[in-house]
Symmetry: C2
Subunit: 390 residues, 2 copies
């Protein structure tokens, strides 16, 4: 059985794992990253990067590439999915960029992944595929032994678990389960139309919503349709199928209905989160990204919060005197948890409430629409807590 | 069998009947008013008169008396019944009075009734008690025969039916039924405390609300507690009893709970309205007030809308050339309906929605509180339609 040894081993080659590895490597830490798949890659479509994330990409020198491959929308617009009425909008122009020190960018998930993978490789992160982690054993007084399912172990001073929503490492640390929201997402991309689609538009409706924005410098449109599955509510194990899709949007305005024709029907994303937890660390292992704080996507913050985790880890290392020795990782990790957990808990909880606000009906819809339509579009009180500098 | 004959007979000696009779009599019409009780009087406690009503009382020369017996509150304040937080307020001072041309006054229902009864008597309205109307028969081509249960009939050119929520005359014209809201009101008055209570305060909560304001020049406090009856929801015929009262407010803030001790427990007001109708006239008979448009009390407009009916009737008569002859009342009544029905329909429907907004919980409460707390208290957009000049 092959034995390896590295100061830090990162488990998971998604956005959370790559950014954590990058943040460490940029500070001179030797890092091996284990990805269970045979190749690095991401499944998905568009992804939103708010200034709390693009500010960090800029620090890492990756914002220009992100802007090249991504798209900088003009505004975020919320519309009522039933009657199509505009509810409110957030201009993303100069005032927004100046306030938050960075732009709002939308990008194909695979493009962002490629940028991060290249950056990690160039920085010298050791990138290892086909290595599914079976378990992590904490050593006394510090350090971790990572066992890979195809044989072999890694001895590390510290382990970073970035293995996502279904994190096997979280199972052994927190022991909780993902919580099904009963909502499911369908995605799709299509070539741009005659006119550029300059905004991120979200049509919000009773038990459903639909999002559309441009990708790849405006050449491609990204669409997401999300709805509450009646079959889930009825207790069926098989829920959110394509037979429920069209029906879920049958009361919606034409613009939304037309968009439904351009969705991939062979793949769907049932949506889960977990309850917030403060248990991000066990021994020398730290959970980050979705493994630490999986959230519903209504605030479009999943990737952003993972990137913030990595930046916080980097700053904690900056405050440390010299390269950490085996026993010194635990207090560094505790600083990360102390700094991050209150915010990610707020984001997780707010994402649920924000989803409820999007999907409300009847009187709730009336109140929501009135509140949003009365909102001063120059009022940043609902975004400062999320996008503002920390 | 005694036979009487008058140009106009008004059925019902409440606020709607007295004001309709007064408006006609002030224009020289000979009017007999039939009240079924042995004495004129009103059961109840406080009642709110918004400027759309006090403006009319001023025209009739009754505002000074109303202010003498009533109380002019400083503001209307909405608070959350659970945590007691202030949600929004409407200042009723100079700017408000100037905008709507009249003050906001709260008054004991019996005091307003006395003012109107005295005014009708002084104006020469023939006031007849112990006359319960059994039926009204329309004559061809015009005129009505009003039959009283204790014998006797009245021949009239026109009949005005102001017999309230349970209007027997509406039964024969519209044929609909009162709709139980499942909510019940308890009322009570108590002597003022050490400090003057200067505002109308409504605490709004999940399935309940509580209102408090001063009466009789501030010497007395008026309280109303309204709640959704669980027994009604369960289908019991007997609902809204005192055993449900305390439980309905058990989650409320202390200020509300303390108020519950000062309610009359031997009398309750189950709350009803009816669906709006355009059928206010049959032959020479016109429905007015609650007989035409009974509403839930959430906008505090029941008396106000009845008073507006009377004023509209008066203006329609002003436009008529000379005293109407028998056949000329029907087009006058149709003008009243055309002018009033769209507004009273809006008030009836809005009262229901406003009640839903008061009584919402969970996400709806969150959105309502946010909307109200963000409201510019100098913004009159929610009251212009109701209090503004017509």
């Amino acid at each position: 059985m092959k034995k390896n040894s590295r100061p830090v081993v990162v488990v998971g080659g998604g956005i959370g794992g790559l950014t954590a590895a990058l943040a460490l490597r940029l500070r001179g830490v030797e890092v091996a990253l284990l990805e269970r798949a045979d190749e690095f890659g991401e499944v998905g479509a568009g992804l939103q990067l708010a200034p709390n994330a693009t500010r960090i990409l800029a620090e890492w020198g990756l914002l220009d590439k992100t802007l090249q491959l991504g798209y900088e929308p003009r505004s975020i617009v919320l519309k009522d999915a039933l009657d199509g009425a505009e509810l409110t909008r957030q201009d993303l122009g100069e005032e927004f960029r100046a306030r938050y020190g960075a732009p709002y960018v939308v990008i194909h998930r695979s493009d962002l992944h490629t940028i991060l993978l290249d950056a990690a490789r160039e920085a010298g992160v050791e990138l290892i595929t086909a290595s599914e982690v079976d378990s992590v054993t904490e050593r006394e007084p510090a350090g971790a032994t990572i066992t890979v399912t195809n044989g072999g172990t890694w001895e590390a001073d510290a382990c970073i678990a970035a293995d996502g929503l279904t994190s096997r490492l979280r199972d052994s640390i927190v022991g909780d389960q993902p919580i099904a929201s009963g909502y499911v997402a369908y995605r799709g991309t299509l070539p741009r139309g005659e006119d550029a689609f300059e905004d991120v538009v979200a049509w919000v409706g009773p038990g459903c919503h639909f999002v559309r924005y441009s990708l790849r410098n405006g050449e491609m449109l990204n669409q997401v349709a999300v709805f509450r599955s009646p079959r889930f509510a009825e207790g069926h194990a098989d829920w959110g199928g394509v037979e429920e899709l069209d029906n879920a949007f049958s009361e919606c305005c034409d613009e939304v209905k037309h968009g439904l024709a351009h969705l991939w029907r062979d793949r769907r994303w049932p949506m889960y989160d977990r309850a917030p937890t403060q248990q991000w660390r066990r021994g020398s292992t730290l959970l980050v990204g979705d493994a630490a704080h999986p959230m519903l996507q209504y605030l479009a913050q999943g990737a952003c919060q993972a990137i913030e985790d990595a930046a916080t880890l980097g700053r904690a290392l900056d405050r440390h005197d010299g390269m950490p020795t085996t026993g010194q990782w635990q207090p560094i990790f505790d600083q990360v948890v102390a700094e991050r957990e209150p915010q990610t808990t707020l984001v997780q909880n707010s994402a649920r409430v924000w989803g409820d606000i999007w999907h409300t009906e009847g009187l709730g819809r009336l109140l929501r629409n009135e509140l949003m339509q009365r909102r001063d579009t120059k009022d940043f009180r609902y975004s400062d807590w999320l996008y503002g500098a920390r």
